[in-house]
Symmetry: C2
Subunit: 428 residues, 2 copies
C-alpha cells in the first residue's frame, strides 16, 4: 500500500475536476493499493515545493461538488520542467518529495506538454531506481492531443461556442434590417481550429448562421473573406463570423491575438475579432459588433456537455484502474467505437504516442473554400456536445465548490532550486 499524487496542469477546463473526482473515488475503491491521494497545490509546483493537499479524506459531498465545479480545484500551473538531459534537478527533487511521502503513483492531468513531463518523470524515476507508476490523464480544451478521439474539456467548450453562436445569430437575425449587419465572435485556438469549427454545429437548414468560420489551419485571405462577408450580407441581410484567435497570414504570422506581443515586445491592443471588424467597416461601412469569449468559454460549467463530463470522469477512473493493473507510462484515450448512435470506450495508449505531437484538425472537416464545416466535421463534433450537465443552483447562481486546500506538514527543507513560475511554456 502506498500513496498517490494527482496534479492538474496547464489551462483549466469546465470539467477537469470531474476527472479529479474520478481519480479520488476510484482510488477509494482500492484501499489495499492506495493509502492517501495527495493533490499537488498548483500542479507540479506542489510536488516541487512539497505543497500537498490530502484529497483522499474529502467528503462524499465535496466529491459530488467537484463534478460540477469549473477551474482547477487544487490549482494548476504553467511550469515546464527543465529537460532532464540538461538538468534533472527538478525531477530529482520531485522524486525526493515523493519518497518522503511514500508516493508511488503519479497521475498528471494535462495536455501534450504534461504527458511529456509524465514520460520524463517515469524515465528519471527509473534511472534513480525509484518505483513510480506514472499515468498521464488527458485534458485540453484545444482537442489537439494525439491518440485520443477527443480531449476531455473540449466537448464543453464546443457546446458553449455552438450555443453562443446560435444565440447571437438569433439576435442579429432580428436586428439586421436597421442595425448590426456583421457579428464576429472570437474563440480560443492558437494553432488549431477545433473550437472555432465546432460552432458549425449551430448551422442548419434555417440558415441562421454562423456563416463564416476562420481557422488557423487555413491561411487568412483578406479579400476572399471580405467577398464572402459581402455576399452573405447581400443574400441574407447579415453575416455571423466565428474566428479562432490564432488565424494566420499566408506567411504563418498571427493576424492578431488578444494575448500576444508584437515582434518588438509591445503588447497588442485588441484581439483578432476587432481587427476583422476593422477590415469590414473600412471596406463596407457595415455596422458590426464583436465579442471575445476568452476564459468564459473554458470556464462555462453552466453549459457543460454531459458527454464531456462523463468522459472526463471516465479517464480519471481508468487512470487509477491502469495503475492498479500495473500499467506504466500510459494515458487513457477516448475511442469512438460508433458515431450514430454515439458510443465510446476508453483504452490505454503509451504516453510517448501522446507527448510526441499535436493533432491538427483534418483539412476535410472544412469546406474547399475554407469558410464552413463539412458534414464529416459535423459528424465528428456532434456527439461531443450531447447532453446537458447542469450544476445545482442556489439563489440564481451555480453552487461551485472552492476547496480549502490545506497543506499537509512538510518533511523536507524548503526548495530553492528554481524560481517559481518563471516562464510560461504552454499556450495560455
Amino acid at each position: 500500500m502506498a500513496n498517490a499524487f494527482y496534479g492538474q496542469s496547464g489551462g483549466v477546463t469546465a470539467v477537469i475536476n470531474a476527472t479529479a473526482a474520478g481519480i479520488i473515488e476510484t482510488a477509494r475503491q482500492h484501499p489495499t493499493v492506495f493509502d492517501k491521494v495527495y493533490a499537488g497545490r498548483d500542479g507540479i509546483l506542489g510536488a516541487l515545493h512539497e505543497n500537498l493537499v490530502d484529497i483522499s479524506e474529502e467528503s462524499v459531498d465535496t466529491l459530488e461538488q467537484l463534478l460540477h465545479t469549473p477551474g482547477g480545484a487544487f490549482g494548476s500551473c504553467r511550469h515546464k520542467l527543465q529537460n532532464p538531459n540538461v538538468n534533472h534537478d527538478e525531477y530529482q527533487r520531485i522524486i525526493e518529495v515523493f519518497r518522503a511521502h511514500d508516493i508511488r503513483y503519479f497521475f498528471y492531468n494535462g495536455g501534450g506538454d504534461s504527458q511529456d513531463t509524465t514520460r520524463k518523470l517515469a524515465h528519471v524515476a527509473e534511472l534513480m531506481g525509484y518505483d513510480l507508476t506514472c499515468i498521464g490523464v488527458p485534458k485540453t480544451i484545444d482537442n489537439d492531443l494525439p491518440a485520443t478521439d477527443n480531449s476531455p474539456g473540449f466537448g464543453s467548450v464546443a457546446k458553449y461556442v455552438a450555443v453562443s453562436a446560435l444565440e447571437a445569430s438569433f439576435d442579429i437575425a432580428s436586428m439586421h434590417k436597421t442595425s448590426t449587419k456583421v457579428f464576429v465572435m472570437e474563440v480560443m485556438g492558437r494553432r488549431s481550429g477545433w473550437i472555432a469549427a465546432a460552432a458549425g454545429l449551430a448551422c442548419d437548414e434555417r440558415e441562421l448562421g454562423p456563416d463564416v468560420i476562420l481557422v488557423p489551419e487555413i491561411s487568412f485571405d483578406k479579400e476572399a473573406f471580405l467577398e464572402r462577408v459581402k455576399q452573405t450580407v447581400a443574400k441574407k441581410g447579415f453575416c455571423v463570423v466565428i474566428t479562432a484567435e490564432g488565424i494566420r497570414q499566408a506567411t504563418g504570422e498571427l493576424l492578431a491575438s488578444a494575448d500576444n506581443e508584437d515582434p518588438f515586445g509591445h503588447t497588442q491592443f485588441g484581439g483578432v475579432a476587432p481587427l476583422l471588424v476593422d477590415f469590414i467597416k473600412e471596406r463596407f461601412n457595415y455596422k458590426c459588433h464583436w465579442s471575445v469569449c476568452d476564459y468564459l468559454q473554458r470556464a462555462a460549467r453552466h453549459l457543460a456537455s454531459q458527454t464531456d463530463v462523463e468522459q472526463s470522469y471516465a479517464v480519471g477512473k481508468a487512470a487509477v484502474e491502469y495503475a492498479v493493473a500495473g500499467l506504466q507510462s500510459v494515458m487513457p484515450a477516448i475511442v469512438r467505437t460508433q458515431s450514430v448512435p454515439y458510443q465510446w470506450d476508453i483504452k490505454p495508449v503509451h504516453i510517448s504516442e501522446v507527448a510526441s505531437g499535436e493533432k491538427n484538425m483534418p483539412r476535410h472537416f472544412m469546406s474547399k473554400d475554407g469558410f464552413s464545416v463539412t458534414q464529416a466535421g459535423l459528424d465528428y463534433f456532434a456527439p461531443l456536445i450531447f447532453g446537458e450537465a447542469y450544476p445545482p443552483y442556489r439563489n440564481g447562481l451555480p453552487e461551485y465548490r472552492k476547496c480549502r486546500n490545506r497543506l499537509i506538514p512538510r518533511k523536507l527543507p524548503e526548495y530553492f532550486g528554481r524560481k517559481d513560475g518563471a516562464k510560461e511554456t504552454e499556450p495560455a
Copy 2:
C-alpha cells in the same frame, strides 16, 4: 371586435419573445375583443410598410417555443419616428395602415424611446380622430426604464454576467500562480452600470471575485484603478475586473467602446477591456486576459432567469388586459412588493412617466471608492436572477424557434415616405 398590432423595438433580449407569447395567449382569451393579432415585421417598420404577420393563428406549440427563444421572433428595429410636431407623415401612414387592417390596439415592446413613440402615436391618432388603444410594453437589458422596479430582459443579462464572472474567477483562481493575474470582462452599459454591477452577485465570503467593478456613473480614475488592481493582486494573487463598456473619464468622454467612433469619425480598434489591460500591462507587466461579452450576454437564453421569463410574460399579459379594461397610454410596470422573500406585482403607469427619462443606478449601490457593489445593491439585484428557465435541447443544442413570418396581403400602395432604417437612434 378589432385587430391588434404588436411590435418589437430596439435591442432584443433573451426573453422578449416571452412577452410576445403573453400578448398572443392573453388576446386569445378575449375573443370578443380581439380578432387577429398582427406582428409588425421588424417592429414599427412593419406598420409603416404594411409588412404584417398574422400571429394570432400560431399554434400552441409555437407559442410555447417563443417562451424559450432569444432574439426578436418577428424582427426588431432601430428606427425613430420623426417628431410629429415637425413632420407627422410617418404617424399618419401608420394610422392609414392600421385603418386598412382595422387595427385598434397598438402594443409596442421596447425601451424608453419606444414608449415615447407609443405616446406620440396615441397623440396623433387622437388628432386624426382614429380610435386606437396604445399600450407600451417594457423591455430593455439596460434596466434604465423609469417607473418600473426593473426592466424585462435585464434579469437574464444580470444572471449571465454574474455566472460568467463567477466561472472566470474560478478559472483564474486556479491559474494565477504561474499564469494570468488579471482578467477583465467587458459588459454592456453605455450610460449606466446596472449590468456591470450585477456581476457583484458573484462576490461572496470566499473572496473569489469579481474584485473591481467599473460603471459609467463613476468617473474612471486611472491611478486609483491601477492601485486597486495592484493591491488586489498583492493580497489574493489575482484580480477580476468587470467593466461596463461605457465607463467615462472625468470629462464625461467615453474611454473606449467596441462600437464607437473617435471624434474624427474613425472606427476605434478594440473595446474598453483591452484598453484597461493595456494600462495594467504597461504599469505592472502582469499577464492579463480579457473578454468582451457583447451580444452573447443579451442573447443567452440558455441561462435566462426564471424570474425574468415570468415577468416578461406577465407584462405582455397585463398589457392586453389593460387594453381590454379600456386603459390608454399606459405601460405595465413591475412593482417590488417585498424583497425577502421576493414578491412582485404588475401595475399600470402612464407612458409619459416612462418616456421622460432614464433611470440611473443609485450611487449608494456602489461603495464609496466606486469599485464594488454595496449590500443595498446586492439586495436589489439578487431576486432578479432567481431561478433557471432552461430551453429544451436536442442533440446538445437548444431548440430555438425561427418563425416563418409570412406576410399577409397588403391593401395599400407601397410606402416611399422615408428611407428605411436610415439612422440608428437608440444605443446599440
